[in-house]
Symmetry: D2
Subunit: 340 residues, 4 copies
């Protein structure tokens, strides 16, 4: 199978390249970049040094392929898909533009009319833990919001059981979420040691969470912390009825038993008793843990992912595996580093 | 006035030394350390280099003084105060042991019988924003919990107005909170880039918040992030009635108008639109900001402090100023550094 | 005395504002910024919050003043000084353009003809440790190169004693050296945890070192490390004759005995036995230490500064104090923070 | 093949576990820890979560195996090898105690009599780039010093060509070098943002460099920087005769052409033009680059490794592959992450 990446000079594009370069069922055909055309990909993605002679091609030079990843796509150019869909049997669009199923939701959260609304129903939300069956053989899959993914996988078993009355999701996120483009807020002197709430309210990923998990009162706040890769989600859940930790064990185990990339982390010993994103850098895992507050009945659910992996390229490759009929976990076996 | 510090080799002791060394109304008489006796204080606290010839004395060599700071006190040795109170006109105990007014609360949260319960009522909780009048001329003041301080100052105006039905306090804290003693969890390879929830539930500082702010449903979770000094508090407040941002402006301005060390931070421009702890390193400020969630009515209150300053030594010196009749802000004028 | 700052929105401009705001002999008259005109200065420099209502003015609106700091000056616009010199009795230009005394040196290291060569001799190199007498009452002073300053103060006693045959200067520098402007290399994901040699050879600050310290074989390499403020200089010196540590103590003590901002740091106990830049953030100190290599006779001299202070704004204010007849250390008393 | 690890709870032991867990030719038989006996290995090494049920065994319970790694060995207990050698066909001792071939060198650098000098000649220094032929089928291999490895691979082509008259090696190292044991200097508040020269002179790894590279004047200084994994070596080489960059290209290419884990990094474009350790976390690469100083003829050679990999466990597994007849690069294929 030949896979190509449109917009491959960013962080997500690099992560796709890293995964596909070692994927036994896939060959990378082309990777494009408007600003780095003709440069060796390893000058931008140093993990390719000595391993790949791939060069960035002009985006206009894209040839037909089996799987096309859109990794540099702009949210306001969704009609690009009309032009591109003829070039590939499968399309995975990692931008936000096909994550929502409803044009009205798009309008509400993104503030514009959707440019290709006829595709909204054709795309599958690319999180296999939610849409595995639909992804098998699918032609179109969207990427996922990284913050949405951490939140969804933290809350999913509770939501499915109808146990959430109110959820307050407090996210701590790394700097790679903002992408590779230079910005004042991302400069090291400003961003190092930051604990900077950038979305106290109004974060767009709420739209995905609501769409996928359904109806409960959702609050959402995101804060940047000093970390490159990673999202840590603390979900404070006020349940519709009292739940014990033992019941939570049962619920989460039941729900995630067969998931290759979701682990329950709740240890009695050691430093790492709950999920921590830094342990997951480069992996496709989502770690999930929980604790019940005896005073208030609140359930604290903690989850952690690598935003570039489970929150972007990892879920995209996992989705591709399902779309193309490969073994679902293929190419996603990295276990992580410690200490790091 | 002669001030002495018992247990001066830790981070809080160092911060007291830093503040008192430049305080125009105070002279540091003695600083003790059991493990560094006779060493120059500057070998432990490098900001004293070239500025002070002070050496650590043996704790047993403590002489009478005007103000005594207990900075290395153990929570389980509260009866030490009986022996020490004769040595000083004013005592500021920065440990947890005299923060609570009720022996029953102590038992509930610290799990032991209080060793000197007859002093509980004699100590004033050392946060001038709450107890200014009582601190003036007081003989005994407690220190404050750093996480409690950030939470209390975030919530105080809402609590006084009876507007809090439920508050979910999500704290992000720096590594200096854990003190200078070597521990596995504090080693750089383990602690760097951590986003580690160390108290999902059950954090003891809740006892102080409840005591000082009264009755509402309080949830509290604390997460370690990669920062040395600082606490960032995100308080998700579900109000008893709908409140607009304009009303919040009025409420917070009214409440904090005359406070020398509380600032409302809510900017339209620039990177630093809400409170951020790294900007406050070395200062005695508590910055407070807020935003209303249009979807749910939730109020997001954000606050930031330096845990060693407003959350410990800074509030202690501010309290001392009140106890001894000095100008309240004396010695606390540092404005902070940027970038840092 | 009224001081104004041209180009006050960058890191050095901010540091000047911080120092001058607390300087007892100076009032800040104006601070300009082309890109932030009319904005409150505290939106860019958060340490001014609640302390100053200063707004950025248009650079063209500059009024006559007693001291003018050029903090945003471009190296290729040195002729600007002709227009500006009439507006102020004293001018301190913190750019590189008047640090060298020779137009030929400028051409060699900066690759252009100097635009105002007639001023080169009128400017004093603004490092009081080298040019105190000339700075007293001077009309023009240059700023200093931060890396040059750390190197010069490490080597000065040895150079003056004619003891350097060969010096290999290996610098480790923080991210604030690159300034506030957004760049790809300065983005947090790329810059965090970097150990990135950006000038293996050819660094321009060598020109200043050579000019100020005279003739010996100088090698110079600069590497970016994960730090915001600070320069650490490791100077490996091969001496013209064998020197003992005792002799070094004598030499350095003799040389720096009366310097208010140079400290010899060489401890037997504690963690901080040699100079470390993070301890100096916000201070005007240069700490210097040394050790002799018994195997090779090499002298290792270590120095540390805050690049924005002793390496820029701090030395500039110290120079201003001399130029204007103020006490030399006025406004530069901050002792630093620990831990930080 | 069955491999066991004695002392597997530290960082190097963890890294061995990580590598061996995915090694197709090896099965991990036992991993011991005196302090964590019976605990699941994943509580200490979180990358094993959901992948391994291995528990730490008592060191005394060690059974015979094919390959034995000593990962927690103490330098002063070299006689342990007498007792252990009967338990395994191949022994790789990652401590310092068998790196030197001469008991006199041991005495000079480690200050004690070697406890098992009869083994010194039986061990091969475990760096395949130096001793590939001897390692093939060898019974005993030592580990390597991480700082020595970075230095040796930077200098090797020049040393072999007899081109080094004087080398000044300036190392920047990460915190994992100090191991997992808690220490005051390794605590996050003290170690974060450190630029701390801990060995201005006298570093023991010099003994290995001298032994392996032979006779030239060597100076060596090591400085801790804010990084977990990684060593960056800047070798300032004064050559016996002038060398051009073109000649260096020839020399290094010739020398490292067939090495699977040494890459020459010297790019014209992009951020990462020279070796950087953070790009190598988890990999077995040593990246090497160079530049000639036109002014002085100095050659600046830069190298970077992951100290836990090429500087410890990676080279040990590479050595094991040679000792046991496996493909040399087996199990060492991880390419690294970016950004990280």
């Amino acid at each position: 199978m030949r896979a190509s990446i449109l917009g491959g000079a960013g962080y997500v594009g690099g992560e796709l390249l890293r995964l596909l370069a070692d994927h036994p069922d896939v060959e990378v055909a082309q990777v494009s970049s408007g600003s780095h055309t003709n440069r060796f990909a390893h000058t931008v993605h140093p993990f390719l040094r000595g391993r790949s002679d791939l060069r960035f091609c002009d985006p206009a030079a894209l040839e037909p392929c089996d799987v096309l990843f859109l990794a540099g796509a702009h949210d306001d150019a969704a009609d690009e898909v009309r032009e591109l869909e003829g070039r590939a049997r499968h399309v995975v669009d990692l931008s936000a533009r096909f994550r929502l199923r409803s044009a009205a939701d798009w309008r509400e959260w993104y503030g514009t009319e959707h440019a290709a609304p006829e595709y909204l129903e054709r795309f599958v939300y690319g999180l296999p833990e939610l849409h595995r069956d639909e992804l098998i053989g699918a032609r179109f899959a969207s990427g996922v919001g990284c913050n949405a993914t951490a939140s969804i996988l933290a809350l999913l078993p509770l939501a499915r059981a109808g146990l959430i009355e109110r959820a307050v999701v407090d996210l701590k996120v790394g700097s790679s979420e903002a992408g590779a483009r230079a910005s004042a807020g991302g400069q090291h002197p400003a961003r190092a040691r930051a604990v900077r709430t950038y979305a106290a309210t109004g974060h767009r990923h709420q739209a995905e969470i609501r769409q996928e998990l359904g109806d409960f009162e959702l609050s959402f706040t995101a804060t940047a912390v000093d970390l490159v890769r990673g999202v840590a989600c603390t979900a404070h859940v006020f349940p519709t009825e009292a739940v014990s930790e033992k019941e939570l064990w049962g619920l989460y185990r039941e729900h995630y038993r067969s998931e290759p990339f979701v682990r329950i982390v709740k240890e009695r010993h050691g430093l790492y008793r709950y999920p921590e994103p830094k342990l997951l850098a480069g992996t496709n895992y989502c770690d999930v843990g929980f604790e019940v507050d005896e005073c208030t009945g609140r359930i604290v659910v903690m989850s952690a992912i690598d935003n570039l992996m489970k929150g972007a390229a990892g879920s995209a490759v996992q989705s591709m595996n399902l779309m193309c009929g490969f073994e679902e976990a293929r190419g996603l076996g990295f276990a992580g580093l410690h200490p790091v």
